[in-house]
Amino acid sequence: MAMIELVDVTTRFDTTTALEGISLEIEPGESLALIGPNGAGKTTILKILGGLLMPSAGEVRFDGDLARGEVLEKLRLHATMVFQKPVLFGTTVYKNVAYGLRVRGLPENQVSERVLDALGLVQMEDFADRQARNLSGGEQKRVNLAMAIAIDPQILLLDEPTSYLDALGTKIVEGFIQRIREERQTTVVIATHDLFQAVRLTERAAVLEGGQLCQVGPSSQIIREEVEALIFSDQECNVFHGIAKNGTSEGERHLTKIELGEAVTIEALTDTTGEVTVRISPEDIIVSREPVLSSAKNTLRGVIRAIDVDDSIVRLTVDVGIDLVAIITKSSLNLLSMAVGDRVYVTFKASSVRVY
């Protein structure tokens, strides 16, 4: 049974709809990344998962029960959220971290032990007696993390857990998240803009956009697609429609053949079959005079259709049945002395093909 289940959840604030028809199940012990652009609804989902916000429509279930009344209180007790912006009580760091423990009625000696442990973990043990609100941004975020860590919740909801943190802090926090996942089977949901962090820390990722859930799937795959989509969103080239056919299975990723129009077939790593959109990053394409036997899965023959020189960057359009754009350096162009009409080979790795 899912630990937390959102059924067709919609959240409206006066004029805006922050979430629309979100259904999502979170299994005990799993790790989920919430990714999506600013205003996508990540924070809103986290608040709903933490029982801090009631959806305008739809259901939230915790361990199968509708989250309201006592169930809601249980949810709040088991799920702890670390907010995007640091929020602290106007007292000392120690008392901030102790709050969640005292609320749970822990004896004072255990409280102090766990507070110091949690502070130690985020390297803030020397700050115990400082006024929390006078700390620097990163220090505040660390205290917020310590507050959540200290109560050792079953479900940890992290909203950009490493924003404001320095490199070392980020590393410590990421390490800690991995450790509690392994050692205590804590369920972790992380909203982050750092896609690599999402891959590092989670198994599953959900992509939100404009309040809607666009995709849910294994992090590594989803994030890869996202990374590419983002990096090349301003160069709308090498985007094709095609049909993906079931291919060989390699561990969790599938090597799939995709037929693009005009009898061009390429290989890509994807689970998807049927109609797909693919994008091949122009910077990933190697152009050569001779075919290349290499680890790169895709080698296609074609004719140069156009050469656009722009500063030091050259944009080659190669007709391989479809028009592929490759970006090479000016000196490569000179070295290969290519001209429009020349026959060339284009090579790219299967992992360079993004499938949507």
């Binding site: 709040r76 907010f83 912006k85 969640g100 909801l157």
Partner: protein
């Protein structure tokens, strides 16, 4: 009793009566203020507007209404409260509760709502979260208490009408000041005023340092 003893006993009586009144107003008004400050609900604005309107209840009028209530023929006459310190305490508490509620709810409202969310997500109950918000708005609550106590100890109408300014029983600082003034004993009146104001400054000094202690203590 010498004049000095008399002044001391009147002063102590004033402090006790208005202290209890402010306490009563706090016990009643603080939770209401917290509630109004924390929650958004239909009709909340209406309640706020009425509470604020009640802040302008003149003490003569309140005194009159309470007199009619507590008088032997009044609905609560059987309690025989008229002209007792208890009646005075109740009357002053009624007078200052709207002030208590208004100031508390206003300052609570200004505490960032994230404080409530922070408490909740750390496992506090709704009550615990309200307590956190209360802690954060302690300055406002202290002002509310100060304003309430001030209003209670400085009011005259209720003290006259339901207290009756009975010597040794319900004679307080303001009724004494009024009495000395009508008697033409202006210097004595001014003296009593100075006593009252000094006391209240001292009270606020104490409240101010208590605030720090309480803040510390609330976090224990």
């Amino acid at each position: 009793m010498t004049v000095e003893e008399e002044i001391v006993s009147i002063t102590l009586r004033s402090l006790t009566i208005s202290g209890f009144a402010a306490l009563l107003a706090t016990v009643i008004g603080l939770p209401i203020g917290l509630f109004l400050g924390l929650r958004q609900f239909r009709g909340r604005d209406h309640i706020m507007v009425i509470v604020r309107g009640l802040m302008s209840l003149p003490t003569v009028a309140l005194g009159l209404l309470l007199y009619l209530t507590f008088s032997r023929n009044g609905p609560l006459g059987f309690l025989q409260l008229l002209y007792t310190p208890l009646a005075l305490i109740i009357g002053q508490a009624v007078l200052v509760t709207p002030i208590m509620i208004s100031i508390t709810s206003e300052t609570v409202e200004n505490v960032s709502p994230t404080i409530r969310e922070l408490s909740l997500t750390l496992g506090a109950s709704e009550r615990g979260a309200a307590a956190s918000v209360f802690r954060e708005s302690l300055g406002g609550v202290v002002l509310a208490i100060s304003a309430s106590f001030s209003r209670a100890i400085s009011e005259l109408g209720v003290a006259l009408m339901v207290g009756g300014n009975l010597q040794g029983l319900t004679r307080v600082l303001t009724t004494s000041i009024a009495l000395e003034t009508t008697r033409g004993e202006i210097l004595l009146g001014i003296g009593l005023t100075i006593v009252l104001l000094s006391l209240m400054v001292v009270f606020n000094v104490l409240l101010n340092s208590a605030e720090k202690r309480v803040r510390w203590w609330l976090w224990q």
